[in-house]
Amino acid sequence: MTTKAEVLEVSVWRGSADGGALETFEVPARESQTVLDVVSWIQQFADPTLTYRYACRVGMCGSCAMMVNGTPRWTCRTHVQKVAEGNSLRIEPLRNLPVIKDLAADMDPFFDKWVEAEAVHHPTGTRHDPIAHVDADSGARQAADAGIECINCAVCYAACDTVAGNADYLGPAALQRAWTLLNDTRDGGGASILDAVSGGGGCHNCHSMGSCTQYCPNELDPMSAIAGLKRETVRRVFRRRRDA
């Protein structure tokens, strides 16, 4: 697949919110090298002014996602061997987000939408109450468990074409978190979550193209979580009709 090249040709996007361009670097190829290793090498040995973001380097923190040859990826867990085209790499800041500088995207819109989707904990008890019992085998808990390993890396947000075309759309990550909280017996925000995901930018804008599920590095399934939200919002209307 990949040729045993000594040197990688790496195009890196340089610039700010006002615009920018690709700049090419030659980076020594190494065994088991990750894309983040390549970016770090450039910053340490070629151009110390290169701006990028990372923290844990082991796929826990979700801060190092970038576009690699056009595809959103967590760069610390992405091997160069698997994604290089020949010996070339193109590394750009995450799609669908404003750029701060070089490879660092502004994550504010992404996290603002989590709050907008009511993807925040709505407590039902205080510290004086006994610890809530969680039935691990219940269907709701399993639906919640399926989505809670999200590391907020925004790969799904960058992969989604609905986000690209519709600036108000809350996006897969925020909606999936809303779905996990809706299924959490300790969360008391059910009605406000369903209201929040039913607005102009809500879950109903999703076209189930599945790029979120396709590219989630933790192999989560936001597309199905969003389908779950649609189902619950519809079910709520019929329930109201019956109760009225």
Partner: protein, 113 residues
């Protein structure tokens, strides 16, 4: 080989659903206009219907029936995914929708020629 962000089965199913829907919506005004001739100008309607004996027009009709069928079956898949309590196997379901659309429009085409 790297996979570009869009070329996966469900994205293609999304694009097919959108393009078929758009094409059908654009075709409808023509369809309605031709049929309304039945009231205002029956001779013109017959002249236009004779036009459908042309093999190229038959092929275009096959295309339209395919678009309708693929939008129909693809739409049923989406409705099932959103409203029924299961959502696994979507790639298989999308492929099945495409196959059924070919079957239906193929049946139409064989009757047409």
């Amino acid at each position: 080989m790297i996979r570009p962000a869009r070329t996966h089965p469900l994205w293609l199913a999304y694009l097919l659903h959108r393009v078929s829907g758009l094409a059908l919506a654009l075709f409808l005004p023509l369809h309605f206009w031709v049929l309304s001739k039945a009231l205002t100008a029956p001779d013109e309607l017959d002249a236009m219907l004779a036009f459908t004996d042309n093999p190229a027009v038959k092929l275009a009709e096959f295309g339209l029936v395919f678009l309708l069928a693929v939008h129909f079956f693809g739409g049923l898949r989406l409705l099932a995914m959103e409203w029924l309590p299961w959502s696994q196997g979507q790639k298989t379901a999308a492929a099945a929708a495409l196959a059924l659309a070919f079957f239906v429009s193929g049946t139409f085409f064989l009757k047409a020629i």
